[in-house]
């Protein structure tokens, strides 16, 4: 199976700020990749660069084996794109807008009518006759998915599609994405980690302009379930003592330290250390694999 997206050493600055320092990752065909990072990490910049909307300062990008160029971006014919708050022409109805999208995508008229009705059914807007200007945010997001999937793209790029939605709307969008994952490769950026856990088979974490982790969710689970111990200290000033003794440890927040403890022996050693050093703790527990902890851990390491 080939790679649908290949990004190599991508760099992009805005003024003095280096948003993307050296982004390298690939998305195999047929996968659903969660692209996570904190706000401002560069997720949207990466996606817009893939769409040819941003001129990059360095690096290469390929979609379906073809290089991505800035400006008139021919690789966009493979892509369906959905932004966090998609903007449409308010004077159109959803049906009219999808016809318009089909025509500008070069779809044949004979297929377009059926496809528009099919996709409107899929997103639950087939009975909607009102103009888009009157739509709720959830309806607009569903229309966004419809326009993105209309021409059966090889790649679907979704930039935080669930971030502006209520729980019900989020659930609907995730369900739709799960339903189409057999037809298309999906790159899905979000900072809602439970959404990634729910539907993605691959994960890439972007932090400070660099990809700090990229693998299948299965591999990450396997490597992370070796055993981590979380020590929640009572006093934050004890943290340096812990960190000095366990330099490989990472901070989950200002009082929690994650330590590698695959076996009983390592766990006993940690407990002994706490007692010897008279370090007061609130809680000690063996961590179950959790994407949120993992995210905090890889971010904190940076």
């Amino acid at each position: 199976m080939g790679a649908m997206i290949v990004v190599e050493h991508l760099k992009k600055s805005f003024g003095q700020k280096d948003v993307l320092k050296d982004v390298t990752f690939s998305v195999p065909e047929g996968s659903l990749m969660g692209f996570v990072g904190r706000n401002g990490a560069g997720k949207t910049t990466t996606m817009k660069a893939l769409l040819g909307l941003y001129k990059v300062d360095g690096g290469k990008m390929f979609i379906n084996g073809e290089p991505v160029t800035y400006g008139n971006t021919v690789t966009n014919r493979f892509i369906g794109y959905l932004s966090d708050v998609p903007q449409f022409y308010d004077f159109y109805t959803s049906r009219e807008y999808l016809y318009f999208c089909g025509e500008i995508s070069g779809m044949k008229k004979a297929n377009l009518r059926d496809r528009v009705e099919e996709i409107l059914d899929l997103v639950g807007l087939s009975r909607e006759q009102k103009r888009i200007g009157t739509f709720s945010r959830g309806m607009k997001q569903r229309l966004g998915i419809a326009q993105a999937l209309l021409n059966r793209p090889k790649l679907l790029i979704c930039d935080e599609p669930t971030s502006a939605l209520d729980p019900l709307g989020r659930k609907e969008v995730l369900k739709l994405m799960s339903e189409v994952r057999n037809e298309t490769t999906i790159l899905f950026s979000t900072h809602i980690l439970s959404d990634v856990e729910r539907i993605c088979d691959r994960l890439a974490v972007l932090n400070d302009g660099i990809i700090v982790m990229s693998d299948t969710v299965a591999n990450i689970k396997k490597s992370r379930s070796m055993g981590k111990m979380v020590v929640e200290l009572k006093n934050s000033f004890d943290i340096p003592i812990m960190m000095k003794h366990y330099p490989e440890a990472s901070l989950l927040d200002e009082s929690k330290v994650i330590l590698s403890a695959p076996g009983q022996e390592e766990r006993a050693q940690i407990l002994s250390f706490l007692v010897e050093q008279h370090l007061d703790y609130e809680k000690i527990y063996v961590s179950e694999w959790n994407l949120e902890d993992l995210f905090m851990e890889v971010i904190a390491k940076k």
């Binding site: 971006t73 903007q87 009219e96």
Partner: protein, 256 residues
């Protein structure tokens, strides 16, 4: 071509549904009626004010209005109409930049050149429709109220002003390819429209300037012949192509 036509159709639907076309047609129609009406009412207005004017030492008698007075009003109104037109379309691109509506369109593989030229075509089409309406209504009044044979080459004179309008509008679209703000578009268009007038102060190059196309009344009165404007037409056409091309280049490289 299908994508280009679809985008033109979208622009037309937008013009109709947001009522911009009907508003423009109404304004052009009102001004078209206003020209002949002003000419018709001028003697009556002056007669009414004759006492007042006499007390100021101005004697008013024997005023004859001809079709040339109405045509003069026609050309006086056109700069106002062109400004109104530019104001109505100054947000043609900037609104889409601000809202982000171009992103979805471009992400569908539609070339930026097609978007740019589809927008240009629609605005030029709208200008043509409004101008024809303005011209035909004015002409109908002029023919019915006066002897229009007095005016020479009235069709060509009107056509030359239409070309000047095309020049200004292409300038506006071109600036829109670069500028993200309405004020930027208005300033750029203003400079583009007025610059030839300033450069034309040099007597040797005056006849080449696009602004020469606006002096229709000189053609109507026979002061100049339509052939005298050929140099200006050629320069205007070249400037339109250059400005249009530069704008397309700017839009194709613009970060959205």
């Amino acid at each position: 071509m299908i994508a280009f036509c679809a985008f033109v159709r979208k622009e037309i639907v937008e013009l109709i549904r947001n009522k911009r076309l009907i508003i423009l047609l109404a304004i052009f129609t009102i001004f078209a009626i206003l020209g002949p009406l002003t000419a018709v009412l001028t003697p009556w207005i002056l007669e009414t004010m004759s006492d007042l004017l006499e007390s100021s030492g101005v004697t008013v008698n024997g005023i004859t209005i001809t079709v040339l007075d109405s045509w003069t009003q026609y050309y006086k109104n056109l700069p106002i109409l062109l400004i109104v037109f530019v104001l109505m379309f100054a947000g043609l691109f900037t609104k889409e930049y601000a809202r982000g509506t171009f992103e979805l369109i471009i992400s569908k593989g539609m070339s930026r050149n097609k978007i740019y030229f589809a927008k240009m075509l629609t605005v030029l089409g709208t200008w043509t429709i409004c101008y024809i309406a303005y011209f035909l209504i004015s002409l109908a009044y002029n023919v019915s109220l006066w002897d229009n044979r007095v005016a020479q080459h009235w069709g060509i004179a009107a056509f030359l002003y239409w070309i000047f309008g095309v020049y200004v509008i292409i300038g506006m679209v071109s600036v829109s390819g670069f500028s993200a703000s309405v004020s930027g578009v208005l300033i750029g268009t203003g400079v583009f429209a007025v610059m030839p007038e300033l450069i034309g102060i040099l007597p040797k190059i005056t006849k080449y300037m696009p602004t020469q196309l606006t002096s229709g009344i000189l053609i109507l009165t026979g002061s100049i012949k339509p052939n005298d404007r050929i140099e200006s037409i050629v320069v205007t056409a070249i400037l339109c192509f250059v400005a249009g091309g530069i704008g397309a280049k700017g839009f194709s490289k613009k970060q959205l």
